[in-house]
């Protein structure tokens, strides 16, 4: 299936909007921004390393990290978005473990699932190829075809 074409202008707009969002976050909720930067660090690292089109791995890792970061971010928001709360939250190993572990799990799934699928499909196709070759051989022998 063909990838939807994205024009350079649309890409630039998305980048500009992301920058605006980040700037707004830094301006209005700097503690939350710091927390998210730390908890979403695996997604950032993945973004830097992911060269695949569509960056599917980065997306998965980002969503998984986001799932781990949702509860700390909510607690920080309830605590008034203070920088001390950020350090308290980050000093809890479970906070980092959930966020980063989720990202790690997502990354692992992105590696394992395609390999498993490819193996299963390969076996299936090889079996099918053998069946076809056997039928072709039978037809050739039966009807003297080349």
């Amino acid at each position: 299936m063909a990838e939807p074409a994205t024009s350079p202008r649309a890409k630039a707009s998305v980048l500009w909007l992301q920058g605006l969002g980040c700037g707004a976050l830094l301006a209005f909720a700097p503690a939350l921004a710091v927390l998210l930067v730390v908890l979403m660090a695996p997604a950032s690292a993945c973004l830097a390393a992911d060269l695949q089109q569509g960056r599917g791995t980065t997306r998965s890792v980002a969503i998984a990290c986001g799932a781990g970061a949702l509860a700390p971010a909510w607690r920080l928001w309830l605590a008034g978005d203070r920088m001390e709360s950020v350090f308290v939250l980050l000093s809890d190993p479970l906070t980092l473990a959930f966020a980063w572990g989720g990202g790690a799990c997502a990354w692992a799934l992105c590696q394992v699932i395609p390999a498993v699928l490819q193996s299963v499909w390969s076996v299936r196709e090889t079996t099918r190829a053998h069946r076809i070759e056997a039928e072709m051989a039978r037809l050739r022998e039966e009807w003297h075809l080349e």
């Binding site: 791995t57 998965s60 799932a67 781990g68 949702l70 395609p114 390969s122 196709e125 190829a129 039966e142």
Partner: protein
């Protein structure tokens, strides 16, 4: 096919205690007994392979009786006591020994009572049947004892007059190839009877010291009567009879009916003008000619010299000035100038035609001359059998040129010749047919119904009837190389000539026996022949067809069907059922199904090959799809986690 030694024509057994009798012309006659009626005294005359029996007499056995002549009762293949195969014709045993070469003069009364009257009666009966004898000579006259009437011996075991010494034949017949003399007319029999009477009356053969060519020249030079009776003392009555019986013109000879009354016959005088004789000879290729008959003979004998003489006008000039016959001169002028007026090309065929027609114009009794040989129109078929290559080529050219047609038109007054015009056209059509079953071989077999098939495949068998062919081939298979085809051009031409046209249509169109279609056509031919002729099981031929690849399933596409049919085919071959083999190999419906199956299989193979190529070339595509799906699943799992976190927060 009878295979037992000493049994001929199925039911006649050769008497081993009596050696074969040698008849005139070297034919062998065996004393035989009918296994169903041993009281009959019979004889089996063995025909020669190069001289087929006369079909009109041998095949048409019914008819009015012929006194003082031996007629055939039965015929068929067989083996002599030594096991040698042959074709035999059964007839009544001869009453005694042959009269043979005369050693002492016969008395006039004995000649008339014992030879002339019985022979005339026999010729009259034959004339009633529309037949001629054409083998009357002292060697072919038989009688039980002196003073007994003589019997005319076998005359049907070889082509008419083919075994007759030239002296017994009128010049226009003696000039022809021995096998090409044709049936002739009763007048030719009267001539031969005249020579026989002359020899017996004189007690010696006339012109015995001369060879055939010299005898012919002498007859042409002096006339038959003068040439044969020179220096002979003959009874006056015999001399009178011979004068008319040996007349040059067949119309001047007495009829058999007239000969039955010798006194009346001797008194008959024909007011014939003696042939003109020139004072100065014409040189035709070294031969000096003085009369019209000599000239016609010399022209036919040396066409290479004759044509320039004719075209230069020398012949016409000589006829007008020296021979003094302006009518013949005018006729020759018509023949030689006609092609020039019609702007016809002066090719070899035209030259031969001019010479032949000129000879006819000069001598109305002249035979059909072509490239130095001569035949009678109804003798062309028999002349084709076993003649040397050069003569065969001349005859082939003669047939291809339809030379008989202008010959007959030139001699329209001759009775019975008009029917030969159609035959000449049929001959040319048969000759023009190409392929192994056509050409000169087919023409020879078609024109000679009693000619045996000369195929080397039939090594030890004599096959004359189409019904005997398949059994003979089946027996011959035992000693034949079965890797080679059971058919050759001789067998093909024989079948094409003798079998029904409904069977031979495909055979005639074949150009060879090499290809699979041709081989199937041959199998069809043998299968249909078997169905028509019902010769019984033919295991030899069936096995031969199988082993030589003529009954093959190779071109069947389905291996499974072929394997199933092969066993049945081998079984049918071992049982000698060629028609069954044909049904298996040539089953149209099954073949159609086989072809349809093969086409469907080919289409399915294309589809499968495309699918296989797709599988083999789809590795990268599958990897990409797996990765995309993996990412989607991982994203889904992440979203589930996100949703779970949100729900747990909301529930707190």
């Amino acid at each position: 096919m009878p295979g037992e030694n000493g049994v001929v024509a199925t039911q006649y057994r050769i008497d081993p205690s009596r050696p074969p009798q040698l008849l005139a012309g070297g034919l062998r006659a065996f004393s035989v007994s009918d296994m169903r009626d041993r009281a009959r005294a019979l004889m089996a005359v063995q025909t020669r392979p190069d001289l087929p029996a006369r079909p009109r007499i041998t095949l048409a056995r019914a008819g009015p009786p012929v006194p003082y002549a031996v007629l055939p009762h039965e015929y068929g293949p067989g083996h002599d006591l030594a096991g040698k195969p042959g074709w035999f014709i059964i007839c009544d045993a001869l009453p005694g020994a042959a009269v043979g070469p005369p050693r002492a003069p016969w008395r006039e009364q004995e000649l008339v009572a014992c030879v002339l009257l019985p022979a005339a009666a026999a010729l009259l009966a034959l004339q009633t049947r529309g037949q001629t004898h054409r083998a009357i000579n002292t060697e072919n006259l038989f009688r039980e004892a002196p003073q007994e009437p003589a019997i005319l011996g076998p005359f049907w075991a070889a082509p008419p007059a083919s075994l007759q010494p030239a002296i017994y034949e009128p010049p226009y017949m003696a000039r022809c190839l021995p096998a090409g003399r044709g049936d002739g007319t009763v007048a030719d029999d009267v001539y031969a009877l005249g020579v026989t009477l002359l020899a017996l009356a004189a007690g010696r053969m006339p012109l015995a010291a001369l060879n055939d060519a010299a005898i012919l020249r002498r007859k042409l030079e002096l006339g038959s009567y003068a040439a044969l009776t020179a220096e002979m003392q003959l009874p006056q009555m015999i001399s009178d009879l011979l004068r008319s019986m040996l007349a040059e013109d067949p119309e001047h000879r007495p009829s058999p009916k007239l000969l039955l009354n010798p006194e009346q016959a001797r008194a008959r005088r024909i007011a014939a003008r003696p042939p003109r004789r020139a004072q100065q000879a014409l040189n035709v290729g070294g031969q000096m000619v003085f009369s019209a008959r000599e000239l016609a003979h010399a022209l036919g004998l040396r066409p290479d010299f004759a044509y320039p003489l004719l075209k230069s006008g020398m012949v016409e000039h000589w006829i007008r000035r020296n021979l003094g016959d302006p009518q013949i001169g005018m006729a020759v002028e018509d023949v030689t100038r006609k092609p020039a007026e019609q702007n016809m090309p002066e090719d070899a065929r035209h030259r031969e035609m001019t010479v032949m027609l000129s000879a006819c114009a000069i001598d109305p009794t002249a035979p059909l001359n072509w490239r130095g040989i001569a035949v009678q129109p109804d003798g062309i078929a028999t002349a084709l059998v076993g003649c040397p290559q050069e003569e065969a080529a001349a005859l082939e050219e003669l047939v291809a040129a339809e030379a008989v047609v202008p010959y007959i038109e030139a001699l329209e007054r001759r009775p019975g010749l008009a029917a030969q015009r159609d035959e000449a056209r049929d001959f040319r059509r048969l000759l023009a047919a190409s392929g192994p079953a056509g050409g000169i071989r087919r023409l020879t077999y078609a024109a000679n119904p009693m000619l045996a098939c000369a195929s080397p495949l039939l090594a030890n068998h004599v096959v004359v009837r189409i019904g005997d062919l398949l059994p003979a081939l089946s027996e011959a298979a035992a000693t034949s190389d079965r890797s080679k085809p059971p058919i050759d051009p001789h067998v093909a031409a024989f079948i094409a000539a003798r079998a029904e046209s409904t069977v031979t249509g495909e055979l005639i169109a074949l150009k060879s026996f090499a290809g699979p279609k041709e081989r199937l056509a041959v199998l069809r031919l043998f299968g249909r022949l078997e169905q028509r002729l019902l010769p019984g099981p033919l295991p030899g031929l069936a096995g031969w067809l199988l082993q030589s690849g003529f009954a093959t399933l190779e071109d069947w596409r389905s291996h499974r069907t072929r394997a199933a049919l092969e066993d049945t085919l081998k079984q049918a071959a071992s049982q000698g059922q060629i028609a069954t083999m044909l049904m298996l190999v040539d089953d149209a419906e099954a073949r159609r199904a086989d072809e349809t199956g093969a086409e469907a299989a080919a289409q399915r193979l294309v589809v499968l090959k495309a699918a296989l190529d797709d599988i083999k070339g789809g590795e990268a595509r599958r990897a990409k799809a797996a990765q995309a799906l993996g990412h989607e699943l991982a994203t889904g799992a992440g979203l589930l986690g996100l949703l779970g976190s949100a729900i747990s927060l909301a529930l707190r």
